[in-house]
Amino acid sequence: MNWMQHAPALQVVAPLLAAPLIVLMRRLSWAYAIAVAACALAFFFSIGLWSQVQSTGVIAYAIGNWPPPWGIEYRVDALNAFILCLVSGTGMAVLLFSRSSNAHEVPSEQRYLFYAMFCLCLAGLLGMAITGDAFNIFVFLEISALSTYVLIAMGRQRQSLFAAYQYLILGTIGATFIVIGIGLIYLLTGTLNLVDMGQRLSQVDSMRPVYAAFAFISAGVFLKLALFPFHNWLPNAYTYAPTTVSAFLAATATKVSIYVLLRFYFTVFHLDAITPHLPLSLMLGALAIAAMFAGSATAIFQTDMKRLLAFSSVGQIGYIMLGIALFNASGLTAGLVHLFNHGITKGASFLLLGLVVTRLGGTQMSHLSGLGKTMPWTAFGLLICGLSLIGVPGTAGFISKLYLVRAALDLGLWWVALMVLLSSLLAVAYVWKFVEAAYFRPPPEQLPPSLANVTTWDMRLMALLLTLSTVYFGFDTRFTLGSAQAAAQYLLGAH
């Protein structure tokens, strides 16, 4: 039997089956081992799928051998192979980090359940990215969302419960909007296969239900990807969740939602048919620019570093959406590169903060003061991530901002390019806030006793790896830029 042939199904099934197995095992060490094995399998298969797509093009896999459009089809192309690598790669790093960090952040009786939820969340996100079936997207979206609510509620403070509840309400409204939109398209076309939907929608006479479906799906996905002003759930969720969960969510959950938006816009809806009646570029662009400024400006006033990074995420999602709003090859490329680069940068920042929480017990600016002396390496890593958030040359963030500005200038939109640069100045302000605390303030006189709070080698290694990749992808852009260009080309050629 050729295993690679079933890779599309196996990489979702492995973490999905691992979750109930972990609950049955109950032993923490076994739970961890099973989760790592499932995650490693998923990572291995996504790398395999990515290289296979590079050489042979689109891979179509019929689940249970039922031919599409009747059966569920898993479809891997240049776009989602790239997303799968991001999700399973950062998932792997976060999982290896979590073993020691959870010992400080998750109550001991819940620790084995953390891994079950983590596997479910990973399976949901990978499923959303790989499936070619509209209703299947909704089901996987709910799998990942429900497990995310549980993961957020595992935080130490009681605020994490309310953050999870708020996200549950808004996330469910978002998912229900998406399923209403899918229902309307299903009523119009009688199919659930995304490619088939796209072909049949182009033959539909009356456009009004198509607009309604378009509006429902857009609003639902905006809620899930936390586009300003739909971002209300995000700051609390990232702040009060265990740090490993914040890292995983920031790097993957919003990014997969952006992928879903792209999939619907380019594969299902024919933008050529919709844009003449709807100033879509303007609407998305206005929201994106508002997000860039509002997110970054609010970040400046935060006193908790995790909250600061959460608002910075709201701003950075703005840059990704701005690239998408340009609706041409260079804009989409910039958006997709930023999707990846921001994912690893934020993942690295939250993992470094995880080290800080373990050692110093919190992420308030008062904990961080004098970090340059108490934890010089971690402080330096956070500084590098900060520079990448600003977009300083030599970091991953620079590459994506460069391409974004270039894409805007190509279209003659010099004021959009100016907005990107101006909002980056706000990023300088919030990163400076960290620098001031870490390097210009004295460390607190009473450090926590160091014996109980040691960061272990696996935590440090994972944080180091992600931070290094933030720098690496600032120099070697073959993987990121190459994949993003191929994906953008594929999306624009698909309709």
Partner: protein
Amino acid sequence: MNLAAYFTYIATFVLMFLGLFIVMARGNLIKKLVGLGIFQTSVYFLYLGPAKLVGGTAPILSDAFKVYTNPLPHVLMLTAIVVGVATLALGLALVVRLREAYGSIEEDDILAQDQASAGATEAA
């Protein structure tokens, strides 16, 4: 226009707006979940209403049956009901934990307590 012919559509959208309104307008965490449940239920109607043919049977390959109902939307909604149950169960579990932690299930109370404790840590 015959309103009765559009009964299921009207019912669907009335439920949809009612549910969403309750979620937004109520401060009680349980009532919010009730609203969410109504909102999700309206989606079942949206799928099932147009799928049912009066006098339709299950799709059976036989000359005796000419009119049949598409079973797919029903299957989809079975999945959606499961998702709805899971969401509601998790939401209620969170409310139980919130009540243990804050002693209240009113949104305003909880936010006020959070603000008070945030102010206390900043003062300290």
